[in-house]
Symmetry: C2
Subunit: 256 residues, 2 copies
């Protein structure tokens, strides 16, 4: 057990770079997991993490201390943990891990979720979580999306990353063009109500960025243009909410 109290410590400086810089995460091939739940989810799926970091206060008692037991870890002061600035309320436990690479090819005959320019880390994490909960295994991200393996997206994903095949920098148009199933896109001027739309077999759902929606060329390429009926006084949903509604309508029909 090492104790770090100085921000000039080389290991702390490396943690800070990993926390703050996407470039550093790409260069090193590493990222950070924040919180006990996420570390446990990783280890259940992918084996031991490379390195554990715990704050002095978390080490002083409670759930994290009990979980750690005799495991080796680096202890840093609560002030240094906050300085990493990962989340508003640091959990007190971090892990360094090697960022997984998508080591399987995309499958053009299975369900998929395609994300076009989703930039908000919280939304992206929630979308990954909904896909995994609905039983969709592969997610393709366009070049304009947030980095899937950033600490904030990992935190919002709550472990969904570790059970998904995540393909970043994907060419969504090329995937749709050769997809064996039905591509469905949600758009405000969609012709068909989600609840009236007919479909069979595998589905590729396309969801777009908050501000801009799905690119026109992808909308045009999709077989199903769907709108979610909204009887209330506002007529749009957060992209994470809209995706959950669509994915679980698929779940409902398959269970019926």
């Amino acid at each position: 057990m090492k104790l770090i109290q100085s921000r000039d410590n080389a290991f702390f400086k490396q943690l800070k770079r990993l926390a703050e810089s996407g470039r550093e995460r790409r260069k090193s091939g590493q990222t950070l997991l924040d919180g006990l739940h996420l570390v446990e989810a990783w280890e259940a799926q992918r084996g031991p993490v490379s390195s554990l970091i715990v704050s002095e206060s978390a080490l002083a008692g409670g759930e994290i201390q009990a979980w750690l037991g005799e495991r080796e870890c680096t202890v840093i002061s609560a002030a240094l943990m906050r300085e990493l600035g990962l989340v508003d309320t640091p959990s007190g436990l971090l892990a360094v891990v090697d960022t997984p690479q998508a080591n399987v090819a995309v499958d053009r005959e299975k369900d998929a979720v395609l994300l076009d320019g989703v930039q908000d880390p919280g939304n992206l994490g929630s979308l990954l979580r909904s896909a995994a909960a609905a039983g969709v295994r592969q997610v393709l991200l366009s070049p304009g999306c947030a980095a899937a393996w950033s600490p904030k997206v990992l935190r919002a994903g709550q472990g969904a990353h570790f059970v998904l095949d995540i393909h970043e920098e994907a060419d969504l148009g090329a995937f749709i063009a050769s997809y064996a199933g039905t591509t469905a896109v949600t758009c405000l001027d969609g012709a068909t109500s989600l609840y009236a739309a007919g479909w069979q077999g595998p589905l590729a759902w396309v969801f777009g960025s908050e501000g801009l929606g799905v690119r026109r060329e992808l909308i045009d390429a999709a077989q199903l243009k769907i709108r979610i009926p909204m009887p209330g006084a506002v007529e749009s949903l957060n992209v994470g909410a809209a995706a959950a509604v669509c994915l679980f309508e698929m779940v409902r029909r398959r269970q019926a």
Copy 2:
């Protein structure tokens, strides 16, 4: 048109207090709207805003300049706009408004959404948006929830606030006890699948905090204990996603 370039300017200092401090917002009875969409949504529902603030760069051209026309506004430098720290990518347009008060009593015979300790501003805003889109007009927030009228929640709500009756610091248990309709709560150990559950008439949906879920006493008081079936490898959803799934299952059935 006034131009402010110094952070010592009294009006800028007041903006910064409004941006940063919930206590200041309560004391002054004012809050901030960030972005053209939100300002337009406010004015469509509630009339002119008290005061408009625009960044120099937004004034130099584009959508915001065109929208402003001859309207009076205060111009601040882009650096000062960023210093307010409201969002990662400031829109360039802010408005000061008087925080609305819930001026209607809760209605024990109409649909409602009850939020128990939802603290994340993005989640809370998304939940309000889903409620409004689904046609639910009243939302009750427990004392542990984030402040509904903070700039971040307003931004995530995208105008939903202005068409809802929002009751903060509400006693959810008392509401449920005297509610004329059916109270439904989502919980992981819920006995009934959302898709198999039967209900009629008005519904009060209870959703809980990310970490802790809904308090036990509220779960016990609800007539319907519902789980969302999750065929995938993860077994929980973001609270905003879970709420959207439930609220739009209600929409689907009412349209059927």
